[in-house]
Symmetry: C4
Subunit: 248 residues, 4 copies
């Protein structure tokens, strides 16, 4: 492990043309909950780990007494004509330089396994409680907008910028010849939101043409729920990265 982000490949699944599904921690943990649930339900297999000097300099203590570095993990799934790779992890880089390096390293690997399309999952913070969260979309290319609208994803209603991996994978991906969509579940932003995650995952399943038991998602979140203090940290980090971004 050297002083650059690196992708440590654990298993070659011989994909033909997999899609990426990103669910790193972000607003309301919406993307993370949705993507983790998907990975568990389809029993996706760990295919690669990503380590980076742009992650915090910490190791995680596990219940069995062992440790592991902070990391992102790729899980692969392949069945008949369905192929996807789910990106999960403990953290995102907090600096722009870090985000660029990590995103580029990931896309290098995605190109190796012939990825053409990326779905990024996240929350769209509205600052208010929402009973029936909609799924808002933002795509790399106009033609994807139409395709996604068939699955009840709403375009043109989200404003501002998408911060972090959910945005960078699409932005850099687009510049490097990929296409993609960000699926954002409406959410308050100040707490973990399983309902929003369910809406996002439901839309994604419709897009991918797969079926997943969403019932268990609620249980899981109850167990895993992170504290409000931790959410506050995430929110503050988001806000600080927004400073000086005045887009017209």
């Amino acid at each position: 492990m050297k002083n650059e982000t690196y992708v440590r490949i654990l298993r070659d699944m011989h994909f033909k043309n997999p899609v990426i599904i990103e669910g790193l921690p972000g607003i309301g943990l919406v993307g993370k909950i949705a993507a983790e649930h998907l990975a568990r339900e389809v029993k996706a297999k760990r295919i690669a780990e990503i380590y980076s000097p742009h992650f915090p300099h910490q190791v995680v203590m596990r219940k069995n007494g062992t440790i592991r570095p902070l990391r992102n993990v790729l899980y692969g799934y392949k069945k008949q004509n369905k192929e996807f790779v789910i990106l999960l992890g403990d953290v995102q880089a907090v600096t722009s330089e870090g985000q660029f390096e990590i995103t580029n390293k990931m896309i290098d690997y995605f190109k190796q396994i012939n990825v053409k399309r990326i779905y990024t999952l996240g929350g769209y913070g509205s600052g208010r409680h929402i009973d029936n969260p909609r799924v808002l979309g933002a795509a790399t290319h106009k033609k994807l907008v139409k395709e996604m609208e068939k699955h009840n994803v709403i375009f043109g209603k989200s404003k501002g910028t998408i911060i972090g991996a959910a945005g960078m994978l699409l932005g850099i991906g687009k510049l490097r010849g990929m296409e993609g969509v960000c699926l954002m579940g409406e959410t308050h932003g100040a707490y973990v939101d399983a309902k929003s995650a369910k809406a996002v995952l439901s839309a994604l399943c419709s897009i991918l043409g797969i079926k997943v038991n969403l019932g268990k998602l609620d249980e899981r979140v109850k167990i895993d729920e992170i504290s409000e203090k931790e959410m506050k940290k995430i929110k503050e980090a988001k806000e600080s990265s927004e400073s000086l971004s005045y887009i017209r």
Copy 2:
């Protein structure tokens, strides 16, 4: 797109000796408003885009449902003996290392297209409301001072330092064999100032020997006006970069 700032060339306009006109976001958005108005009025053509890991790790959501990375854009204009390239964009880098890398990459490109002169546009914050903003100047070389004074640009009245791209393009440009002038419209500094932008653009048109309809500038600003909250962010970033700069 790799982990360095890079200039993505979209179109070769076969310039002989174009001048650069910089209008990135800054104090009162004076330079940005002036340069954007000029680009639209003369129907300048997009010739290159600049992407950088020193810009915030965000992508912009557009009204049509698509996204794009944050970036700077170069617009070219060429007609008879008038040739110029206008530098616009969403953001500037916030760190010194970022500003140096981006400025150097731009100047590499400017040298390729045979640029010899750079005009940077900005606001000169006075902390008070001004009815008839003057245009203050600061030049790379003494001989330019005389030339500019013919166009009612006032020299020797601005104090302190010029922060960001408006300063760096001149400072590094000078070290790399270019000449240039910063045109600063007097402005309060706490709000978007179209009047100051008009004064700056008026001086620039006189210098370039071109005519531009300035009437539409006011309308445009009304539509585009950014919130006070955003201006506050810009101001704070400026202030923070001023710390530890005690020039005698």
Copy 3:
């Protein structure tokens, strides 16, 4: 001394297979006190110094009127079948990039001298006073857990992450083929804790199969005790590096 971390070798002790004992400053200075005491008691010899641009840009003024840069120092010990190298120092890097670079440079050197195992010493902050601090452990590999439990080190009771060198040496060490254990003495976290250091050193001596006079440890700490203000700084730095680390 160039712009990278570098290990300046002072003495070649011809080790066969030494273990590393890390005691850099951290929570309650537990690891530092324990490792410094060990180094003095066994009269370990200075074998290498580590300098880094990721340490603060300061030099230390010594009582004799001379200065030295901030640094980490390796002390070697070798007697019959006991071989170890103790890592001490003024500071740790405060950024992730710094921690990664320094840890990797150290491990490069450890590989040269044939290190296979690393012990890192630290405090486990509980926020309350503890009369009989236990020693908690976290290991790179499951097999080490059993081995350490024989020496009354308790596993599976510590939660969250290990921050800084005590964690990174194990995390990166593991990825680079080494094994190791972090020994954490329970401590309040808000003051220097010699009692906790004694518990940690006692466990380490049992593991290493050596005997060390622990009586002098208390005296030493009285003399060296650092101010509460300094502890506060350490604590704040720890806390700030914890932000955005929301591990599930």
Copy 4:
């Protein structure tokens, strides 16, 4: 000018063995005032400029309407057997990485011109007003202590660390085979202190065996005096770089 610190050489003075005298901005501006006064009194000649991406991204507006980048400047002096190079400048780098890069680049150049000894000038902040400031010293080597004591420089009375260029030039210089002394005038720390600068320059002149009119120093400071607000910024920057430096 590229993305690294670089020394731009303006004049070759054919030195045999010059000493360096550093006077960059620091506590009470003591070193800066002393070194600037010396440079003006002996009419030292500008021999090199230092530019760095680790300096703030700003250019200075001069009274004559022109600009220049922030920089450090080396002034050379040579007369009979007296040879010295005075280091002055607008700013210091604020990060450790920056300080290391700049210091190393400077020492590369110093080696080229055969420098063996470095004097760094600064203030020693005591937090209280002092009528007759003493000059405290800290040296790279024990033998220098004796030599300097003959000139009423007091050793072993200053505690803690020396921050910034005054420390780094000695620390890295020592590791790279040079010797040097830091001369620190006692000062309050909260305001510009010409009296302390005079004490430091007086000691330096005694050491160098030269005579300089110190009377004009007071006048000069009156004119140039920087605001308290600016001093506060310097102090805060110093304090922030002290965090996490708990040296025993």
